[in-house]
């Protein structure tokens, strides 16, 4: 059966004379007759669900009009007004729109403030007698989660969750329809759907994706086409007949609740009603209900038939002092670094454990989840034994997380399963019984069965469950691996749910744990492991994952395997020759040219041992290399980062030489003062020049950025500068170049002045009285040498 909503309220209110800038919901109290009349027209047009005039009826929206203290009155009045217009079978849906703000950490509105505002409004709508709640036009899944949680807490009415998608098929904050459907169905939405933003043509694919990804009815309320602005007014161009034709296509795509959003009128609804009468019933629907985890913007499917899903285990402070210390002091730099690195290494889910003793673990979990949800798009596994930390993590995560884990211990069953249900999380069932760890596979199967039954009792569904076969240490239990593998096989035979397990316990206490872990991984994958929890950086693990992907037919014909490993060739003979036989000075020069910073100190030591003088090394190898790279840069054959790599290598070489012969410190090519002029805070270019000057033998006094002329004059005199380099990056700071040059000249400084920077030109430099203009750092060095009278 197809259910028909009404059409737009805002469009109708303006037609009824609502002044621009007035509060639409305010009319529920001051002009109820106008609202009733709009509702009645929709009912007469054939709508069987009408929406209350409360789209902006939350405290957060009403405070724009100073009406925040009348949330209850306005929402209750709206239901009353709608009821007055109803026919005998018409239902009233309490409309709840967005707050207009983004939830933290994307925006500034605290999740709890949004939740409270929704709770207050929905309580009033339910108290007023609404038949169902419709949360609509939401552009962020986290705001929808807040509203849905509030709706479930405030009433037992059915809840419709409608998001707004853009032309790219995602909500503004990046959620695709499949991800939305999975998250919202798991959290208990009764109907999921889409409205606004797009016309019906653009919504067909979205409806189809929603219908495939969840088993709940799908609703859709398109605008009357894509809006246009005509003579200062937003106009929706699609007429009733055309919308009605599209309505049938939306039903074919899987919608069973249909209505209209912006620009639709009673005439549109009437046309849709007539089309429905002629066309009949809903389309047949195929739903794919696999186990899936999601982030805000990405769905990861797990289980038999899906590729192996790596759960990265590294965000766990157990036994890691530095990580624990960082979590304790509230800096999450390492947590974030581990997250990015694991994702780069192939982790599709990240396990988050904040088990640092003595800290506020729920707060740490919330912070970690918030930080990571901004940084990566992989789903998270909340790894904790503390119900408060679990709830903090699940509440903050804008997707469907995994609960790691639930054992058969009564307190875990009692506290964790309802939280998983409430927040739509999946659960990893760990077969540890109150009496201890079951030794055999058969016993583990029985304990797992008890957890699964408890999960069903708590309202969870088969697709919410994953099973852990339990991994013990093979050094302590000879049968440990065999029992785990057998448990995996039994799980697959009797349940078919996806499986996940931490791998590394198997090798505890043994040498070369990586070998043991990798072998066990390969065995477990064939026994039915879907999602290993492991250290994704381990090269052997990587090798096993790449090869098993091909062997288990997730990487067809080993295509990706080939791409990954084809490049792994033996070291080239060319390299051997370079390292082995070439002259040591040539090798040092080559090391500088190719930026081998780590290799150069050893080469310098070797050259000294062979009796080369520091001066010889400097001139024939180091300076020669810098000159060559400078030339290559000038000719466009190499680029700035390569010059900087060479400079770093040069620095490393100089430091080694100075260590060996401290007397070298005293020898310089001259003293250079560098500064970015007053008012200018750009210093990257100046820093580059400083690095190059230093590594070409100059003594560099870097005065920094935003340096007043008098300070430059003073330093030039005090340091007996041979050269002053000035830098300005903005048209607004160019005049300071002239002022500084005048000050230096006025003070009688003999130093040569070189100027540069993005906006400085050769003509400008000459007019300002500089001795030279350098367009880049390499040229600055060349000029400084020239001005200081150094050849080469």
């Amino acid at each position: 059966m197809i259910h028909l909503f009404d059409g737009a309220m805002g469009t109708m209110l303006h037609q009824s004379g609502l002044p621009t800038g007035a509060c639409p919901e305010g009319w529920n109290l001051t002009n109820p007759a106008a609202i009733t009349s709009i509702h009645r027209r929709y009912v007469e047009s054939g709508a069987d669900i009408i929406e209350t005039n409360t789209f902006g009826g939350s405290r957060i929206k009403l405070q724009n009009y100073g009406l925040e203290d009348q949330v209850n009155e306005i929402n209750r009045a709206a239901v009353r007004i709608a009821k007055a217009a109803c026919g005998p079978s018409t239902k009233v849906a309490g409309s709840v729109g967005p707050t207009g703000q983004l939830i933290a950490p994307l925006g500034e509105l605290a999740f709890e403030d949004a939740y409270r505002a929704f709770y207050e409004q929905i309580s009033a709508l339910a108290g007023g007698g609404a038949d169902l709640i419709i949360i609509e036009t939401i552009i962020d899944i986290q705001e929808m989660r807040a509203a849905l949680l509030a709706a479930k807490a405030a009433s037992s009415l059915p809840v419709i969750c409608q998001l707004s998608f853009g032309a790219d098929g995602r909500t503004v904050t990046g959620t695709d329809p499949r991800t939305a459907a999975i998250v919202l169905e798991a959290m208990g939405a009764d109907i999921v759907g889409a409205n606004c933003s797009l016309g019906p043509a653009q919504l067909v694919d979205i409806v189809s994706a929603l219908a495939k990804a969840c088993s709940k009815p799908v609703s859709v309320q398109p605008n009357a086409g894509m809006p246009r602005l005509e003579n200062g007014q937003t106009v929706f161009p699609m007429g009733p007949e055309e919308l009605a034709a599209w309505a049938l296509k939306l039903i074919q795509a899987g919608a069973t609740y249909i209505g209209g959003c912006c620009g639709t009128t009673p005439d549109h609804i009437k046309a849709v009603r007539q089309a429905l009468a002629a066309a009949g019933s809903s389309a047949a629907r195929t739903v794919q209900t696999a186990t899936a985890l999601t982030s805000r913007s990405r769905t990861v499917q797990l289980g038999p038939g899906s590729p192996t899903v790596v759960i990265g285990e590294r965000i766990n402070p157990t036994g890691r002092k530095t990580l624990a210390a960082e979590i304790r002091n509230g800096s999450f730099a390492m947590v974030k670094k581990e997250a990015l690195a694991q994702v780069r290494a192939g982790a599709a889910v990240l396990d988050i454990n904040m088990g640092v003793p003595g800290i506020n673990q729920p707060a740490a979990m919330r912070q970690a989840v918030e930080e990571l949800s901004l940084l990566t798009d992989v789903p998270l596994a909340i790894d904790t034994t503390d119900p408060e930390s679990l709830e903090a993590g699940l509440r903050a995560f804008p997707g469907r997380a995994l609960v790691n884990s639930v054992s058969a211990e009564p307190e875990r069953i009692a506290s964790f399963l309802p939280l998983a249900k409430k927040y739509g999380a999946a659960v990893l069932c760990l077969p540890i019984a109150p009496g201890g760890v079951p030794a055999t596979a058969a016993e583990r199967l029985e304990v797992a069965r008890a957890i699964v039954e408890a999960a069903y009792l708590a309202g969870l569904r088969p697709q919410d469950l994953l099973l852990d076969p339990l991994v013990l240490t093979v050094a302590a239990e000879a049968q440990a691996a065999l029992e785990t593998l057998e448990t995996l096989r039994l799980y697959r035979r009797y349940f078919g749910f996806p499986t996940a397990m931490g791998l590394s316990n198997i090798s505890y206490g043994l040498p070369r744990r990586d070998i043991m872990n990798a072998a066990f991984l390969a065995m477990a994958l064939t026994a039915g492991l879907d999602a290993p929890i492991l250290n994704p950086y381990d090269p052997l693990i990587q090798d096993v994952l790449h090869s098993t992907a091909a062997l288990l037919s997730h990487d067809r014909n080993g295509r990706r395997y080939s791409e990954t490993y084809a490049a792994h060739t033996a070291p080239s003979p060319e390299q051997d020759i370079r390292e082995g036989t070439a002259d040591i000075l040539a090798r040092i020069k080559q090391a500088v040219l190719s930026g081998e910073k780590e290799a150069v100190p050893e080469l310098i030591q070797e050259a000294l041992k062979l009796g080369h003088s520091p001066l010889g090394i400097t001139e024939q190898a180091l300076t020669a290399a810098m000159n060559e790279i400078g030339e290559a840069f000038g000719q466009g054959r190499c680029f700035l980062p390569q010059v900087m790599l060479a400079a770093e290598t040069m620095r490393s070489a100089f430091l080694t030489l100075k260590e060996a012969l401290p007397s070298l410190v005293a020898q310089t090519a001259g003293t250079v003062i560098l500064a970015t002029v007053k008012g200018d805070i750009h210093d990257l270019g100046k820093n580059i020049v400083a690095a190059l000057m230093e590594n070409n033998g100059f003594r560099v006094i870097d005065l920094g950025k935003d340096v007043p002329p008098e300070k430059i004059v003073e330093a030039a005199a005090a340091e007996k500068a041979d050269c002053v380099g000035l830098c300005a990056l903005m048209t607004t700071t160019l005049p300071q170049v002239n002022i500084t040059i005048d000050a230096l000249r006025g003070a009688g400084s003999p130093a040569k002045i070189i100027v540069g920077g993005a906006v400085v030109t050769e003509d400008y430099a000459a007019a300002a009285g500089a001795d030279a203009y350098a367009s880049n750092g390499v040229e600055a060095v060349k000029l400084a040498k020239k001005l200081a009278g150094i050849k080469n």
Partner: protein, 228 residues
């Protein structure tokens, strides 16, 4: 006012190479660029804010509480079809540039240079994401967006930066400006975006990045396209 913490999931390595002056060099070690992009993600705190104002295109006036006159001919041309403007400010915060300075001081020049380039990529991507958000918002009212246009582009004097920053309320995301009209943190951008009827005459600059075409630095190493 909206403050948006833009999630950046990856920084473009290609753009970072360009900003680092690597041009088309394929021989430079890719892992150094990748590592700078990774560090950039960790250090950047991308935030955006903007305000929308009615715009009188005939008189080139932005109807803010203190109305602002657009004197630049290039900006006026960019906004020729606009009925509204959004004034945008974005930043990635000060942490990244502190790390760049630290790296130079420690002799890690290349890592410093590449991180600075990754910071530029980050702030540009932040601005692009903010524009996408804005475009979605505008589309719901039947408006299309022009590309973003910043003080310093074309003939738009950088001296107008302070008033643009005020119009955007950049202070809300911690952006300040000095007497030389330079924004702090350094990796910050302000811009104006025209909102024009989507079905009307094509707004100037729509679907086209102004980028290099209107820039007056002829020899910039990061130049993507010839000067217009």
């Amino acid at each position: 006012m909206t403050v948006y913490h833009i999630p950046l999931l990856a920084l473009s390595e290609q753009e970072t190479r360009r900003y680092a002056g690597l041009g088309g060099s394929a021989s430079f070690p890719g892992e150094l660029v990748a590592s700078a992009c990774g560090d950039g993600l960790l250090l950047a705190k991308p935030r955006a804010t903007w305000k929308r104002y009615a715009y009188n295109r005939d008189r080139q006036i932005i109807h803010a509480p203190s109305p602002a006159l657009i004197s630049s001919r290039d900006v006026a041309a960019h906004l020729q079809a606009a009925v509204e403007v959004a004034v945008l400010a974005v930043t990635i915060g000060p942490q990244l540039e502190k790390e760049v300075t630290r790296r130079f001081a420690a002799g890690d020049y290349t890592a410093g240079l590449l991180l600075d380039a990754a910071g530029t990529t980050a702030v540009e991507q932040t601005a692009d994401e903010a524009c996408k958000y804005l475009a979605g918002e505008a589309a719901r009212a039947g408006l299309g967006c022009t590309s973003r246009y910043s003080p310093g582009y074309g003939d738009w004097a950088v001296e107008e930066q302070p008033s643009v920053l005020t119009l955007a309320d950049g202070a809300a995301i911690g952006i300040t400006i000095n007497e030389s009209c330079i924004l702090s943190p350094r990796k910050s951008i302000t811009a104006v975006i025209g909102l024009a009827p989507a079905a009307g005459p094509t707004p100037a600059g729509a679907c086209r990045s102004e980028g290099c075409a209107s820039c007056r630095l002829p020899n910039c190493f990061a130049r993507k396209e010839p000067r217009a």
